[in-house]
């Protein structure tokens, strides 16, 4: 049970309960053996959890386990595709979290034992915890689209799980290498999936690049659904900025891609129509990350059911699952929701470690999307836990107004950039 990695493991194992109930002053609690909070996954959810835990609950001993040395964000990856940003602009180190007292362990978690409260690391070590926050992200369901496996993604990138950034780089290189007049095909999955407006922001950002550099080119978006986030706003913007460059094909018009052939860059839809394209971006169906599924935390949907106030997995008390891996509907799988709910999960974990009730909750999300230069749109949601799940607060939130509103669009583009700076600082700073 006592791990080689845990500096204070033996103290915590002996003293966690005592510390939680008898020690009033945080500084004393930490000195005498802190309760161990282990965070798995260093994205928006996990990094935010680790940072918030150190700031708000200095009596917690916080470890972050993340396989990558640096985090490349999925948000703003579309601006790299547009040529507006470089990869460095969307890459974040864990140095600031280290400086805040987070112990960062660069490794994969291969298994979880919720009874013994241990994590098995690929490097061989075992890591004990008193409470765990899992923010493992998503897995791509290889094979859900016939022919789309990891090898195919080296030719037809998904660019949806940034990992080391190679997928985003690959798609950018392919767009740069494409001849003017080429067709960029984008396959878009059904709900639920990571970042609901993301594919549509991507369409606009690729169009922005093509309009400037390869104006005879086209974008063919093949969608497995008939409606999408901020749809009217996106479509207004596409028409205004890019004319007929973009063709969006919904499910009901045979938009669902069921098979691909990587060698010929062909996307095949349900009724057998084969679209051969110059660049293919395939965003496949998704599930919670492998770790969550292997640990038995997910249900048949492939996502992890959680308590709407503490984010503890229904299948494993003591393990709080935040970010895209959980079923937080009607909240979207967004970086903002991951950041915001991670704090509620940490506050709940801290309260439960002290034998207190978890705090009251209100959740907040804003997803900005860029459509083109000085053209931003947004969707806002405020959510609260209910007896049965999570509900959006009535008469609040919603999308930007439609119409010819250049100042609104210009400000929302600026606010989007401010959001990226702000939230990445709140997670990684």
């Amino acid at each position: 049970m006592i791990s080689t990695l845990s500096r204070r493991g033996f103290l915590a194992a002996a003293g966690a309960t005592a510390a939680a109930t008898t020690l009033a002053r945080p500084s004393i609690a930490r000195a005498q053996g802190a309760a161990r909070l282990v965070v798995v996954g260093g994205g928006f959810g996990g990094a935010s959890a680790a940072r918030f835990a150190r700031l708000a609950y200095p009596w917690l001993d916080v470890t972050l386990v993340e396989p990558q040395a640096r985090f490349v964000t999925c948000p703003y990856g579309n601006l790299v595709l547009a040529g507006r940003l470089g990869m460095d602009d969307i890459t974040h180190s864990y140095d600031a979290l280290r400086a805040r007292g987070v112990r960062v362990v660069q490794d994969w978690v291969d298994g979880i034992d919720p009874i013994a409260k241990t994590l098995r690391l690929r490097g061989g070590a075992t890591l004990g915890y008193d409470r765990a926050i899992l923010s493992p992200g998503i897995a791509l369901r290889w094979g859900a689209i016939e022919g789309y496996d990891e090898a195919a993604s080296q030719v037809m990138p998904h660019a949806w799980v940034p990992a080391d950034g190679s997928q985003t780089r690959l798609l950018r290189r392919q767009l740069e290498a494409m001849d003017d007049g080429g067709v960029v095909g984008i396959a878009i999955p059904g709900n639920p999936f990571r970042c609901p407006p993301g594919p549509y922001e991507r369409i606009g950002m690729i169009a922005e690049y093509l309009k400037k550099h390869k104006p005879r080119s086209k974008i063919l978006a093949l969608d497995a659904k008939d409606a999408f986030s901020k749809q009217a706003l996106f479509q207004d913007g596409w028409k205004q900025l890019y004319g007929d460059m973009i063709e969006w094909v919904p499910l009901s018009k045979d938009g669902r891609v069921v098979r691909v052939d990587a060698a010929s860059r062909t996307l095949e839809t349900e009724f057998g129509v084969k679209h051969q394209v110059a660049v293919a971006n395939v965003i496949p169906p998704q599930s919670a990350a492998r770790l969550a599924i292997d640990a038995g935390l997910a249900d048949a949907s492939g996502w992890v059911p959680v308590d709407p106030r503490t984010f503890e997995a229904k299948a494993a008390p003591g393990i709080h699952v935040v970010g895209d891996a959980n079923n937080g509907a009607p909240m979207p799988k967004s970086g903002f929701v991951a950041n915001n709910t991670a704090k509620q999960a940490v506050a709940s974990a801290a309260a439960l470690l002290r034998g207190e009730a978890p705090p009251e909750a209100v959740y907040f999300n804003t997803c900005y999307s860029h459509v083109g230069p000085e053209y931003g749109i947004s969707i806002v949601g405020v959510f609260r836990p209910t007896a049965t799940g999570i509900a959006e607060v009535a008469n609040s939130g919603g999308v930007s107004p439609r119409g010819d509103l250049p100042e609104q669009r210009r400000f929302e583009a600026l606010y989007a950039d401010a959001w990226y700076r702000s939230i990445t600082e709140d997670a990684f700073g």
């Binding site: 915001n340 509620q344 609040s396 401010a418 939230i423 600082e425």
Partner: protein, 99 residues
Amino acid sequence: MRREAALALTLLLTPAAAMAQAPLASQGCLGCHGADASGVTPVPGLAGRPATELVAAMTAFRANEKPATIMGRIARGYTDAEIAAMAAHFAALPAGGNR
């Protein structure tokens, strides 16, 4: 009495730690207004603004009585008590100025 004690504690902490002592509802603001609520141009800072000013702004946004790009949609999701708690918290923080 408890409110005063909480504010006194807030003033003794570093800005980042003080931010973390905020009511959880106010954490949502930090996604755009800066991790220390000091603003990210052109999004204004909240830290150090008088609580009455913050409450008045949120109340006006909520009632659609103040022009808004996005804050009207946001303000309508929060209760009077949450707005008051958020305002008291931000008012007690040192103003950092926009970066």
